[in-house]
Structure formats: C-alpha cells, structure tokens
Symmetry: C2
Subunit: 132 residues, 2 copies
C-alpha cells in the first residue's frame, strides 16, 4: 500500500480506515472538493466495510492538519475541503452552489501591501463569486 509510509511519516498510524479514506481521497485522477457528508457517501459506495462518521471527521481533520487537505474558506452550513493542496483559488457559482478551481496563473500575482506587526502571512485565499 502506497499510503502506509505517507501516514507513518506524518506520525499517523496506518489504520484500515485511514488507508481506505486515503484511497477515496487521493487515488482519483483529478483533485476534487467535498463536504464531510459527500465524502461519507462516496466512501459508502466504494467500500464494503462501514467507517463511522466520527472517524471520517477525525481523519479529515488529521489530514488537514498534516497538509494533505485544505479547507476552503466559504460561507456555507457545511465545511468544504479540497484535495488540491496546491496554491490556488476558487470560483463559487452561487446558483449551482458549486466550486471551481482557479489556478494561481488565472488570478495573477496578489501583493498584500499592509503589514501587521509580529504576524506573518500564512495564506492568501481568493473567492470569486459568480452569478448569471
């Protein structure tokens, strides 16, 4: 299994559940956006054994902390995650309620001129809302 080492290297035990979640998240051709609820459904479809919802929450948060997933800053009743951890931004189609990737090159350089004492910039995230 290719994910065993990845998990071990992060100090996460490669449990059955985590390995399966890895497959669902990272084995696909394309990166994708998901909510916990959507991920839960996807897992149910792809595997026979059941993984508890609590475990899915735990795992997603663990992966996010390790940098294998990113949260997408958007106002929604559910939290959106992204398997694309490269530096990029998002369109949000208000009508379809769908996220679309915006590569960094599609946005151009962003230059934050204001500085805050003693703080450094961890990330710069752009959300572009779309309407018809």
């Amino acid at each position: 299994m290719k994910y065993i080492e990845k998990l071990r290297n992060s100090g996460l035990r490669p449990t059955k559940q985590r390995l399966k979640i890895c497959e669902v998240l990272f084995n696909s051709e394309k990166t994708f956006h998901f909510t916990i609820n959507e991920l839960d459904k996807k897992i149910k479809k792809q595997i026979s054994d059941k993984i508890s919802l609590a475990t899915i929450y735990n795992t997603v948060h663990a992966f996010e902390k390790k940098g294998y997933l990113k949260q997408i800053p958007i106002n929604s009743n559910q939290t959106y995650f992204d398997t694309n951890i490269s530096d990029h931004h998002h369109f949000y189609d208000l009508k379809e309620e769908k996220l679309i990737d915006l590569e960094n090159a599609d946005v151009g350089p962003i230059n934050i001129l204001k500085k805050i004492n003693g703080k450094k910039i961890k990330s710069v995230e752009v959300l572009v809302k779309l309407e018809d």
Copy 2:
C-alpha cells in the same frame, strides 16, 4: 429618525426593532465585524427592551439582502458579518481569531483571467490568514 427612510426605501417596514438594530449597527464611528451572537450581546447592552434572537437573525439577513451588511467568507462555526460594505478584503488572525480590514488599496488590483461561460463575477474576496 434617520433610518426610517432608509428602511422604507428598501421595502422594509421601519419597526422599533429594526430601528434599534440600525442604531447599533450603523451609528458607530467605525465599521465593525460581528457574529449574530456578538450583535445580540451588543444590543442587550445598549437598549432596555429585549429583541428576540429570531428577529436579530431575520433583520441581519434582510439587511444583508439589501446590501447594508456583508457576509465575510471564512470558515468558522459562526457566520461573520461586516458593517463595512465597501469593496475590501480581510486579514484573519488565526491566533486571536480576529478579523482586520484590508482596504482595496492594500491588496492591489486583482485580475481574474479565467472566464466561465454565461457567468459573471459578482464579487472577489480575499482572505489573508495570519500566524505568528
């Protein structure tokens, strides 16, 4: 009352509750960020009569729909609103869990190069996360 007309012009009846919420939101020197919970406390402090939490939710949403308030896109368990409706962005101090305004001039022009068929851009919002 200076807010009566404003409300009438938006098709909102100038009720006692809405006028008081207007005062709390729009009478201050500076604009500010708030959650519903924080607004509720602020209202309790400033006025004697009680305004139901449901009314605060209703009113904030009505004001947002009319463009008197903006939601700030950020992942949090609570929704953040902004009385500053000008085109601007935000720092988010992860440690203090505090939002700081970033004027448009502090960010520089943002040029979205990618186009989506049949959709137009409604807003471009930048969130800059800060760490120590």
